[in-house]
């Protein structure tokens, strides 16, 4: 079995109860319930428009939910700005289009938030940044600007930038779907390494190999609802719902 054994604690990292969200009159997320324990690696997949990105963007309040509650690390997400900033500094996020700051060097991208949000001294922040840049294997690019790096390198910088905040939870919103095939692997390797260290991760991705290798739970969403969730082995070999079977046959079939 490919799946590495990693421990999952009983401590709850994220608790989502009866969460609903609308875009105008469009009901994007319907009665979503999800509990994530510390150390869990969850892969969320589903057809486009199923609400999977919206779900993880609600967790750090990039999107506002209108009903139900989300509790992250014991702090409830409400419109209280202090809570939102606290949660955001504990939850790292990587985007499909990297969203690095083009006017800052790689090193400055990584030290910005630690210096201004965590009030880390500059020197210490730079040491931490170099540590994580080494971890994602691009310390030699530290003085360059994002525009000079390849897509795969940029996404690894984005991961390092999040890690510099020492987050307890990492969210990945389709981190590899804007990348060339040859660069996907270098990003996935970084994510696998992160998973093996016990980071709590929620990944929206269609990389099923990654899901099989590191996830301990796969969630399938459609029409704003969680349709099926299971351990990866069961999920891929023995999907229960018809919609899941159809989806899997379409993405694995070719």
């Amino acid at each position: 079995m490919a799946q590495t054994q990693m421990k999952v604690s009983d401590e709850v990292a994220i608790q989502i109860n009866q969460m609903n969200k609308w875009y105008g009159t469009f009901h994007v997320l319907r009665d979503v319930n999800l509990t994530v324990n510390r150390g869990e690696r969850i892969v969320i997949c589903g057809p486009s428009g199923s609400g999977k990105s919206t779900l993880i963007r609600c967790i750090n309040r990039l999107e506002e939910h209108q009903a139900g509650d989300i509790i992250v690390d014991g702090t409830e997400l409400s419109s209280d700005l202090k809570n939102i900033d606290k949660i955001r500094s504990e939850v790292g996020m990587c985007f499909q289009h990297f969203n690095l700051f083009p006017h800052l060097t790689i090193l400055e991208n990584c030290t910005l938030a630690p210096i201004w949000v965590r009030k880390t001294p500059k020197k210490e922040a730079e040491e931490t940044a170099m540590h994580f840049l080494e971890k994602v294997k691009i310390p030699d690019q530290a003085m360059k600007y994002p525009g000079q790096l390849s897509g795969g390198q940029q996404q690894r910088v984005a991961i390092a930038r999040s890690l510099c905040m020492k987050p307890r939870i990492m969210l990945f919103d389709e981190p590899t779907s804007a990348l060339d095939p040859e660069m996907i692997k270098e990003v996935l390797d970084t994510m696998i390494e992160l998973a093996e260290e016990g980071m709590t991760m929620l990944c929206v991705t269609h990389e099923m190999g990654f899901a099989r290798q590191v996830a301990n739970r796969v969630i399938f969403m459609d029409q704003g609802q969680i349709v099926e969730q299971n351990e990866p082995e069961e999920f891929f070999n023995n999907p229960q719902s018809e919609r899941t079977q159809l989806f899997l046959s379409q993405i694995i079939g070719h």
Partner: protein
């Protein structure tokens, strides 16, 4: 079976140098000036035009008379030949630069202020090359320049400065303890107290390091254009940023105020605002208040250009991808940090050409104050010089000099902005 298309590359080509560029003046000319019949004709015509222009204008410069007491004397010296009467410049240059009423023994004061302007703004304009601590010179310059140009005891700018510093610290303290609004109130109160008490100090020490006072109505010439231009540009940039951010705000009242302000000011001609400053504004203040005319004009021009700059910056803000805001948010930066560190540096960089456009336009628009009978450079030429019996009719020489002064400054601003854009180019290197 091997197909006829089958191909495998076994040796990879190494890098080879680019082909040497063909050079040579004759080749360049043939390619750029004489590449065809039509181009050859256009080139010849253009050369003919330039030569015709230079030949026509040159005697006017070369025969120029620099030493004469009036136009009639100029004409007598020229004796029918083509020539300029630059004597108007040598006779009246102090009026053109400092206005008609600035005391002659004080000309060194605005001149010194002008010279000090360059080292003072350098730390702000060339931030990459000048250590940050020199920004203190930029901060102190306005107070020094005020003292030099307007005169009076140095205690006036010092008390003003102390009041602002007190307001700043009161704001910081109270903002941390009880929020932005209380901070604002505390800052205003602190400044008011210092300025009130400072009033007694300046009265008591009115002779301390005092320069002879010059009233605002005695300011004039190019000095007035420079004062208005420098002050209004440096005030309207921050105000424009605030207005642009306010217009994007999610708070409806703030957004509404900013939209109404911008749309109203942009919809009104600057001349109208200047007339308001000159005449009407007095009705809005309690009787007896006498707000300095230059101050009133500064307020109006600043509001005018701030509205334009706000719209330019709004364009820059709109050009940023939404992902930049989200990345800032997801890292836990609060609103002011995200704006200051991520959004504004990029939005302002995009807006540089537009901002410079407004700044150059604003600087030239300061000549409009001649309409409300302030004797700026154009006002001095139109009024005291051209209407004097000595110099009636020397339009070309006088206005040419004015154009030259404005061109030098505006071209400098333009060159600086292009340099700055190249410095900030980080995305496609």
């Amino acid at each position: 079976m091997a197909s006829e298309y089958s191909y495998v590359r076994t040796d990879f080509l190494g890098e080879s140098p680019p082909p040497a560029r063909e050079t040579g003046a004759i080749k360049w000319m043939r390619e750029n000036l004489f590449s065809g019949w039509l181009n050859t004709i256009l080139t010849v015509l253009a050369i003919y035009f330039v030569v015709w222009l230079v030949v026509g204008v040159w005697p006017w410069f070369a025969n120029g008379v620099w030493d004469a007491d009036n136009l009639a004397e100029c004409r007598a010296i020229l004796d029918g030949a083509t020539g300029a009467c630059f004597a108007v410049l040598s006779d009246r240059w102090t009026q053109m630069l400092f206005g008609i009423a600035y005391p002659a023994d004080g000309f060194w004061r605005p001149t010194l202020a002008f010279i000090l302007l360059f080292p003072s703004v350098a730390p702000a304009l060339f931030a990459q090359y000048v250590p940050r601590k020199f920004l203190i010179a930029t901060a102190l310059y306005p107070f020094l320049a005020y003292w030099l140009i307007w005169g009076g005891t140095i205690m006036i700018p010092i008390v003003t400065l102390i009041g602002l510093i007190a307001a700043y610290f009161a704001f910081i303290r109270l903002e941390r303890a009880s929020g932005f609004f209380m901070g604002l109130v505390g800052g205003v109160v602190a400044a008011a107290i210092i300025w009130y008490l400072g009033g007694f100090v300046t009265d008591a020490m009115s002779g301390f390091l005092a320069l002879p006072e010059v009233a605002s109505r005695d300011m004039g010439g190019f000095m007035l254009n420079m004062i208005l231009g420098v002050v209004c540009v440096s005030l309207s940039l921050p105000l424009g940023i605030v207005l642009a951010l306010g217009r994007q705000s999610s708070m409806p009242i703030i957004k509404g105020i900013c939209v109404i302000f911008i749309e109203f000011i942009r919809g009104v001609p600057l001349i109208t605002l200047l007339f308001v400053a000159n005449v009407v504004l007095a009705y809005f203040f309690p009787p007896g208040t006498n707000l300095d005319l230059i101050l009133r004009v500064i307020i109006m021009i600043t509001m005018f250009s701030a509205a334009y700059i706000a719209e330019v910056i709004r364009g820059g803000l709109a050009a940023l991808p939404k992902g930049q805001y989200e990345a800032g948010d997801s890292l836990g930066l609060n609103y002011s940090q995200a704006m200051r560190l991520i959004i504004l540096p990029q939005a302002l960089k995009i807006s540089i050409p537009g901002i410079v456009n407004v700044a150059v336009g604003l600087f030239k628009d300061t000549t409009l104050v001649s309409v409300i009978s302030m004797f700026d450079l154009v006002g001095v030429i139109r009024g005291p010089i051209l209407s004097s019996t000595d110099w009636t009719g020397v339009y070309w020489e006088a206005f040419g000099f004015a154009a030259l002064l404005f061109f030098v400054i505006c071209y400098g601003i333009s060159q600086y902005s292009q340099w700055l854009e190249r410095q900030l180019q980080t995305d496609h290197r």
